[in-house]
Structure formats: C-alpha cells, structure tokens
Amino acid sequence: MTYAVRKTEVSIRRADAGACIIAVRGEVTTASEKTLTEGYAQASAPGTRAVILDFSGLDYMNSGGIGLLVMLLVRANRQKQRLLAYGLNEHYRQIFELTRLDEAIGIYGSEAEAVGAVGA
C-alpha cells in the first residue's frame, strides 16, 4: 500500500505582545527540521517571551519528530523563552507523556489557555 506523505507546513502569528503561535500542519519528522527551525526563528523575535506550538493540524509524527521538539526546547531555553503547546489529540498527548516531553513543554487544552499561561 502506498501512502500520501503530507509535508510539514507552519504558519506564524502573534498571540499577544509576548507570545507567538506556530501552527504546525502535516507531518513532523526529521525532514521537518528546516521548516520548524525557520518557523521558530521567525516566531522568536526579540521581545517574545513564549512560543506556543499549535498541533491541531498534526497528522503524523515519528521519533525523529520528537528529537526535533527537544532541539526546539533547547533553543527556547537558550533564548530564555517558554515553549508551550495545545491542540494535541489524545494519541499525541500520550506520546508527549511517553517521551516525558510533557514535563518540559507546557500542554494546554486550547489557545486561550496557552496564551493565558504565558501571562501567568
């Protein structure tokens, strides 16, 4: 059987003065490195205190994708920014729990909750 492979697409928008949202659509694998890294660079302009990852459009992730998220987290820590996420379905929440990424990336149920957590 052959499968459609949906590339990684990101779009960036500002949530408030201190937070930017990166909406991730498609797949997150090692092939997503350039797209995610460039997206993070755009999102984490000076003055950004937090970057929020919107995973509501995530279709597929392998262990390479988890590695990428670890690298984003390293970058966020280096820039003294918080990394948060929302939009994970139950399957991907379980993966974050399995890989213990949920201990380092704040997971929220909605954009409003995530943005609210930045200000808290």
Binding site: M1, T2, Y3, A4, V5, R6, D59, Y60, M61, N62, S63, G64, I66, G67, V70, M71, L73, V74, N77, R78, H91, Q94, I95, E97, L98, T99, R100, L101, E103, A104
Partner: protein, 241 residues
C-alpha cells in the same frame, strides 16, 4: 517520490503506549534482570549532562538490500550485532513498540556488568527508537534507521542524549570512556554492514547542542545502574533462593 493515494499514513501503531514504569517479561536464562522493573523511561529533558547529538552511519554500497530489509533483519537480530562484551535481551516480540529489552554491558575494565534496560518507544519499517530506564548512562532517544541515499542503503544510529546523572557525566568526560561508548555504535554498524557483505566505513558526527548541566536532574544518581549493579553482584551470593 511517494505515490499519492487517498490513504493518509498513520503513526498510531508505531508508538508504545505510555507507561509510568517499566516491567520485564520472558527473561531468558543468563540475563541479569535488574534496575529495570519499576524504573521510569528517561528522555533528553530528564537527563543531567550536556546534550549531545551524535550520528553514526555506514553505506551499504554494492549490497542489493532495501532500507526496509535492513531494519527487518536488525529488529530480529538486534542483540547479535552488538560488539563483544555488550548483551541485549529482548522478549519474543523482538523490537516492537512497548517491548522492554534488558542490557547487560561492561562499562569499564574490571567493573561488574552493568544491568539496565530500554523501552522500545517507536518502530516502523524504516526505523526504531529506544528510551533507557532510569540509571542507564544515557537519557534520551536512540534511533536506529535505514534510508536510501543516492541508490545505496545507509544505516544509521542517532543519539540525542544527556548523561543521566553526574557520575556518568564525569565518567564520560574521560576520553577513553567516551570513545568506548561511541565505539559501541561504530562496531554495531560495522557488524550490520558485514551481515550484508559490506566492509563499510562508519562516519561519525558528534555535536554538543546544549553545554549546560541540568542540576535539577542530579538526583538521578540514586538510580545509577552501575552502582546498583555492583551492589547486586556483591549481595547476589546472599540472596534467598
């Protein structure tokens, strides 16, 4: 290029279910089953030392074998490709999501075997990944994969790991021990290549991506598998049979 159909690929069957702690089953005779049951799997965010991104690879030039065929063989015979002195035991399910493997390894000359284990967190037909149990030297994913590059299958081992506690971090600052660890993967890849009739040269790329120690994780030393394995070896003659 992938052929487009209406079927979107799914990763649902590729991931292990979340577990709070690990447990072993079907332990073969001769394997030391210690420091695994009751331990949590550890990721790169829960390790102590500097974060290293390590990639080891070997090209199977001249071998008529696909990435999927390599991974199928590697999953079935994973322990057979490890170098002498390191042993891995997997249950009958082999390398499959959720399975727990036991590791009995020599860490340094003269020291008792270190017993620990790994969880297979991910497996598909082109790769599989492990996360170690608390106490293993490394915290973070270990990924084994094969990919077609320019018409040849390239076999890889990728680490994105921190030393799990201060003892391991200081140990791995010694070049001899650090290279001993890196050479495990070089030897493994040479063994995989040899299986397919190739005397391949292993390429390595090792980069420190975060030089900071995570002091909040220093407490991981409580689970250090080397210390606990030594204690296990000393107390073994006195265990109730």
């Amino acid at each position: 290029m992938e052929e487009r159909t209406d079927t979107q690929r799914s990763d649902a069957a590729n991931w292990a279910k979340p577990v709070r702690t690990l447990s072993t089953r079907d332990v073969p005779a001769g394997a030391i089953d210690a420091n695994v049951t009751g331990r949590r799997p550890v990721g790169a965010t829960t390790g102590f030392g500097k974060l290293w991104q390590k990639s080891f690879s070997v090209r199977l030039d001249g071998a008529a074998v696909t990435p999927q065929e390599v991974i199928a063989i590697w999953k079935t015979h994973f322990g057979d490709f490890w170098p002498k002195g390191q042993r891995m035991f997997l249950p009958a399910g082999g390398v499959a999501p959720g399975e727990v493997g036991l590791i009995n390894a020599s860490t340094m000359p003269g020291a008792p075997q270190m017993a620990s284990g790994v969880l297979v967190v991910y497996a598909d037909d082109e790769s599989f990944s492990f996360m170690g149990a608390e106490g293993l030297p490394f915290a973070g994913p270990l990924t084994f994969s094969a990919v077609d590059e320019g018409g040849s299958t390239v076999v890889k081992v990728d680490e994105l790991t921190r030393a799990s506690d201060p003892f391991w971090e200081l140990s791995l600052m010694m070049p001899v021990l650090r290279e001993r660890q890196n050479n495990i993967w070089r030897a493994t890849l040479r063994n995989v290549a040899k299986h397919f009739g190739v005397e391949g040269r292993v390429e390595s790329r090792i980069v420190c991506v975060d030089p900071h120690w995570q002091w909040s994780q220093a407490k991981n030393i409580w689970h250090n598998a080397a210390f606990r394995s030594t204690l296990y070896a000393v107390l073994r003659p006195f265990r109730r049979r």
